[in-house]
């Protein structure tokens, strides 16, 4: 009886109790709350790890599809689904959808419209990477650079705020982050001469709270790292969601390449491009920054996920940030102060740097020296990097980071672009250099050495997210359509299912009414498909849909 009363009191105190996601719900992440997937990255730490074990290395062979949902869209489907109280929320470039997580029935669908001209300024696929949930609202971004809030129950639009004019090259594909009660969003367009930033918004009203530029201007001492007014088109996009440490009240957000790629057009370190920024989410103030690739010629964008973990380093529990950087090095930083702990090469071949010095600065190779003198050169990795956007998974049990790595180089020729609003501002002509064998591999990387415990190679590289679980399974998708499962300890392939298009989505898992589900989007059309000219993909049809799997009843 007393218990009942207490429940009633709590229900009265928390009016949204059952259909709202409080700040403390969001803090749990999938590791403490296996019934829901409330965050992009399955937790503020972006570990994409679940303690669930029903689907494990022994049972995974019995995994079967339980439902499939058509996105009615033929673009690249990279959206990560969210799950709350049995409702699955997912996005495409053209719609936001709420589905019954158990049956796949559509509860509501809210369409997104943008001007026909918008795709002109989107370099690498017409994409939306997902939504954020908070206090009964669902938040997302649009290709033409709006941030939208909807009622999570009905899909009704509550507010819509304009970030910036897409005609100047700005677009949005990023999933928002909710941190300390603020909605944070990034921006895309470093190939179109933008000046990048991160924004903070009021979740209730859509009021713009702050903007922090990722390209330092004259009002910032680090603005000196840009000659003249080059900062105005300096790039530094922010199109992957940051991580958040609620104890430190700090958001960790990666920044993109410098604009243009040609380093001779903006000599200097070009802060804060190719960096990670530690921000106060309430004000956007930069607490510290760490730059991976100063004066970057190669599009070694550092936007991709900054994974947070507590590692035991030399017998000391240490709050770290891990980055499988596009430049081919795996970084471990102390996230309390931004100091480098270690950085090691994790890909088979890189020729742009001789190494990383103790302070974290790369030591340029002769090739890079020549490129900085304006010469054309062959360099590894190519512009898609050692790992592209595809998010990794960190399994605290095995201590390994599972990453879809790339293995190809490029012939790089610097050019001098002229800025024209709304057109590309590349600054280099590149042609790919392919290896004889596989162009990529899923690697199980030791964060402290960069060495791989195992690798599952793939002729056509993988560009999907990775999920790992305490069941000893690692999930990831292929551009040819397979969702695959591997043994977390040795990389042995355990299971696969062929979906109808290429998988570029982000697999997630949750447990509902005693059943563990795994969901992933299928739908080809991202950066490799568009830029590689890999004709083997001509036999993979476009066509987006969501697949959900569970163990077949025994």
């Amino acid at each position: 009886m007393r218990k009942l009363l207490l429940t009633a009191v709590i229900a009265a105190l928390v009016p949204f109790g059952l259909h709202a996601q409080t700040a403390s719900d969001l803090m749990k992440g999938s590791q403490k709350d296996t019934a829901n997937v409330l965050n992009y990255g399955m937790g503020y730490d972006l570990q994409r790890f679940s303690p669930l074990t029903q689907v494990n290395r022994d049972t995974v062979k019995h995994l079967v599809p339980v439902w499939n949902y058509s996105y009615d869209d033929n673009k690249s489907e990279e959206s990560q689904p969210l799950v709350y109280n049995g409702v699955l929320y997912v996005t495409t470039n053209a719609a936001t959808m709420a589905l019954n997580a158990k049956t796949g029935e559509q509860i509501w669908k809210s369409k997104i419209e943008y001007p026909d001209e918008t795709p002109r300024i989107v370099c690498c696929g017409i994409i939306n990477r997902g939504a954020a949930l908070y206090e009964g609202k669902i938040f997302r971004t649009t290709l033409d650079a709006f941030v939208v809030a909807m009622d999570a129950k009905t899909g009704k639009e509550l507010w819509r705020s304009h970030a910036i004019d897409f005609k100047d090259g700005y677009s949005m594909t990023v999933a928002p982050l909710i941190a300390d009660g603020v909605v944070l969003t990034g921006i895309s367009g470093a190939e179109y001469g933008i000046r990048g930033f991160i924004d903070g918004w009021d979740p209730d009203t859509g009021k713009h709270l702050w903007r922090t530029y990722t390209v330092a201007g004259p009002d910032d001492p680090n603005g000196k790292t840009w000659p003249g007014d080059t900062y105005q088109h300096g790039g530094g996009s922010t199109w992957i969601t940051g991580s958040f440490d609620p104890d430190l009240h700090t958001v960790y957000w990666g920044t993109g390449n410098a604009g243009s790629w040609n380093p001779t057009t903006h000599p200097g370190d070009n802060l804060y491009t190719c960096s990670v920024l530690a921000l106060d989410p309430k004000t956007g103030k930069i607490k510290w920054h760490f730059q991976f690739s100063p004066n970057d010629p190669y599009d070694y964008d550092s936007v991709a996920e900054m994974v947070l973990a507590d590692l035991n380093i030399g017998g000391k529990p240490t709050k770290v940030l891990m980055d499988t950087n596009r430049n081919g090095f795996f970084y471990v930083l102390d996230r309390t102060n931004g100091k480098l702990i270690t950085a090691n090469q994790y890909i088979t071949k890189q020729t742009w740097a001789k190494g990383i010095d103790e302070g974290g600065r790369p030591i340029a190779s002769e090739i890079t020296d020549k490129v900085r003198q304006g010469q054309e050169q062959d360099v590894w990795p190519g512009a898609m990097g050692g790992k592209n956007w595809s998010p990794v998974s960190y399994n605290p049990g095995t201590g390994l980071v599972y990453a879809n790595t790339l293995n190809f180089g490029m012939h790089y020729k610097p050019t001098t672009p002229e800025f024209r609003a709304g057109l590309t501002y590349w600054g280099a002509d590149i042609t790919w250099i392919w290896p004889d064998g596989p162009r990529g591999g899923l690697k199980a990387i030791d964060p402290m050495t960069g060495k791989a415990k195992w690798e599952a190679p793939s002729d056509i590289p993988r560009f999907s997210g990775v999920l790992s679980t305490a069941g000893g399974v690692v999930f990831s998708g292929k551009l040819t359509g397979e969702l695959e499962a591997f043994d977390a300890d040795n990389g042995k392939k355990l299971w696969q299912f062929k979906t109808g298009s290429g998988v570029e989505g982000q697999p997630v898992t949750w447990q509902q009414d005693g059943v563990q589900y795994i969901a992933v989007s299928s739908g080809i059309g991202g950066v490799y498909t568009l830029f590689s000219g890999d004709e083997r993909l001509s036999q993979v049809p476009a066509g987006g849909s969501l697949w959900v799997f569970a163990l077949a009843p025994q």
């Binding site: 001209e117 057109l423 000219g533 993909l537 001509s538």
Partner: protein
């Protein structure tokens, strides 16, 4: 049959269909300069949807190697005004720039000697 369709869709489109028909004589080969400018523009602003050197897996956009090399009108119309997921370009590209890209596309990417 075509006449009937014209009656239904109205006069202006009908005029367009007729003029498209009368335009089937192929353009003469472009000058190397025009081709060069076209291939550069293509690499800069078209290749990220249509593939490097027009080599595109062809799943989500049009395989331009298969675009009819004698259909100038259709090319100009689609590129200027857009078509389904193909964005319109007329507000940002000069006509001579579209002309240069056409020079590149209609040669199939093979540089004229």
């Amino acid at each position: 049959m075509r006449f009937a369709a014209c009656l239904i869709v109205g006069f202006s489109l009908c005029a367009f269909l007729v003029s498209a028909r009368s335009q089937t004589t192929p353009d003469p080969p472009p000058s190397p300069q025009q081709f060069g400018k076209g291939s550069e523009l293509f690499a800069q602003i078209c290749s990220h949807c249509h593939g490097p050197h027009m080599v595109n897996p062809g799943t989500a956009s049009f395989d331009l190697r298969k675009f009819p090399h004698d259909d100038r009108q259709r090319f100009f119309n689609s590129v200027s005004n857009g078509k389904k997921a193909m964005p319109p370009w007329k507000d940002v590209l000069h006509p001579d720039e579209i002309e240069a890209v056409w020079a590149y596309v209609r040669t199939g990417g093979v540089e004229p000697q």
